[in-house]
Symmetry: C2
């Protein structure tokens, strides 16, 4: 699939010519059928340094009991041979892989991605690698497939970013002695769960709108099979009930902007709808578009609050008031929790909540006079 573009490669790249092969690298050496091992082992280093393999091991792991003199020699030998510890052998010997597996749905939602990113960063910080197990379609078969792959995978622990009911439904066989932490779930009684405080966040959003003077707050909910969506819906109901307000009918989307638009067309048609709490920012975006098409101004006629605080939210028309989720913190806590479980320092189950913060922008205002 070469294209003509290749001829257009910009000239004067960063000293391309000097980028030849590294020093000491002899000719490409195509034929290598002899068992000249590609990578040096401890034994090789030991031989060159004139010590035993065990001493090399000690140096490699920073163990005490090695003379400074010897250590220097070993390090020199390592460098000369380009020695790299073989992680397979290490894992075999130590019985652990220093790797955490992350199972998640297609990385289509901001939240999952940001959480994953935070997990990867935290894990790296703790000396752990992260292996990704994508689940293309959220079906039981797919989930089961992922866990089957997992069983043969080199991981010490697993973090599941997923609705837990799918986990259950898949009747997955978790590999024994693999620790699991779950995000986005209410299964704190069975697993260790880390999640954003959906309830508190939702409550803050509803209170904010009511405080502005709105009579009640409509809700653009996420899909029924999502626990996070369900939780937000429950909290919305609770907050309205507690305030003694009437409960408008529920409007449902599927997280996508497109579904928010369709649902928004319904809401826009309702004269009595002056405030909407959307279960995520993407749906809020679609809602804004629908309201705009209907000629209903935001925030003068209708106030909108989202959930997530995606980076684009501040550039919506108008900039969106929304609940900021601290995904970085969620990821960090996941890693901490799973490592603790591995070391048997932490509790077997229980839920940790990370607060959501209401970010005020320009999509909310008091209702139109007379409402």
């Amino acid at each position: 699939m070469e294209t003509v573009d290749d001829a257009v490669v910009n000239p004067g790249g960063p000293a391309a010519a000097t980028a030849g092969d590294g020093p000491g690298t002899a000719a490409p050496a195509p034929r290598r059928r002899t068992r000249a091992r590609a990578t040096a082992s401890m034994a090789d280093v030991a031989r060159l340094a004139g010590v035993s393999a065990q001493t090399v091991s000690r140096v490699s792991n920073g163990y005490p009991g090695v003379t400074e003199e010897t250590r220097r020699q070993v390090l020199a030998a390592m460098k000369e041979l380009g020695y790299r510890p073989n992680s397979a052998a290490r894992a075999l010997k130590r019985g652990e892989f220093r790797t955490i597996g992350v199972i998640t749905f297609s990385l289509s939602t901001t939240g999952n991605v940001r959480t994953l990113e935070a997990i990867a960063n935290s894990a790296a910080h703790e000396g752990y690698a992260v292996t990704l197990l994508p689940v293309a379609v959220p079906t039981q078969d797919e989930v089961r497939g992922a866990f089957t792959r997992l069983e043969e995978l080199a991981v010490d622990a697993v973090i599941v970013i997923m609705e837990v009911h799918l986990l259950d439904a898949a009747t997955v066989q978790l590999p024994p002695h693999v620790q699991v932490v779950v995000v986005d779930s209410d299964a704190g009684d069975r697993y260790t769960v880390v999640d954003t405080d959906q309830h508190g966040g939702t409550r803050a959003a509803v209170r904010h709108l009511l405080d502005l003077g709105h009579r009640t707050v409509w809700h653009l909910a996420g899909p029924e099979d999502s626990f996070a969506a369900q939780r937000r819906t429950d909290a919305w109901r609770a907050a309205l009930t507690e305030a003694g307000r009437e409960l408008p009918p529920l409007v449902r989307g599927d997280w996508s902007a497109e579904s928010g638009y369709r649902a928004g067309l319904e809401l826009a048609a309702r004269e009595d709808c002056t405030a909407v709490f959307a279960a995520n920012d993407q749906m809020a975006l679609g809602l804004l578009r629908a309201l705009h098409e209907y000629g209903r101004r935001v925030p003068e006629d209708v106030s909108v609050v989202g959930f997530d605080d995606i980076p684009e939210a501040s550039s919506f028309l108008p900039p969106l008031t929304t609940l900021h989720q601290d995904f970085a913190e969620v990821g960090r806590l996941c890693v901490r929790a799973v490592l603790r479980k591995m070391r048997q320092e932490g509790p077997e189950r229980g839920t940790t909540l990370v607060p959501a913060r209401l970010v005020l922008r320009e999509s909310t205002a008091p209702p139109p006079a007379g409402r």
Copy 2:
């Protein structure tokens, strides 16, 4: 004294007798008082099934030369013990990890994430796992750090989703015999590169706007240090020059919607600006907001084209005409390329381009009369 297993051996059956007179039956159990291992090994399965470990290995790997009868027995034993092959031992023996490492910047851009996702899916399909190596900040130190971690990591190959100039700057020492494929780069002369056809896409966008009757096309560019941005800018210049149109001054953002907004304020103030090609959808979003604030209607007064086709693009105000990038294909090709390199079937270097497709929505129209 001997393990209980002996009493539990499969009841009857002709094979049972055969197993009985096998050698070593009277082995005096060399004081195996040590811990009951958490996970069963091949030896355990072999003992229970009354065969040798090698036979278990053959069954485990689907090798021929095993009677159907024996195979069944081994499978049963595996199931009973919950046997899982130890991937560390496997990797050690086979000399490969069946894992691909992916190095990428913070997963903040849609493109990177989608590509990563596609890579993970393709890799899983080929029986490979994907290990994530996040680089928090795009500094040389960080990149070097990632590669250092990589050296100790259990990967057979690496895919780098990154501007290649950072790669060079970091003077990274790639572990020997680890294959590398790079996305988002022009370094096809040194690496194997897979990328979207920035040039062709940009050209299509510019042509589309010119065909609508616009005199020229302005460009909201991405950051200078991004190769993708630079390539889009170059292609924009080339397309205009080729068409004999004047070249408006460049306006620059940093990929974010916020920067698109700021840059958009400049553009909105220019009466003669009737068509803008934004280097990505997020910036286009900010641009739309700026134009809206200035009272310039899209597409009646100003036409806008984006790049990426993020899921939200169809819900912008108005729905955005943009270039659809086939990230899934890019990811797929990355995996294919890197596996080919590993098997020495593919070329050492060269660039593969994936075409971008112009998606027409509602943000473009002929220029206002008289322009």
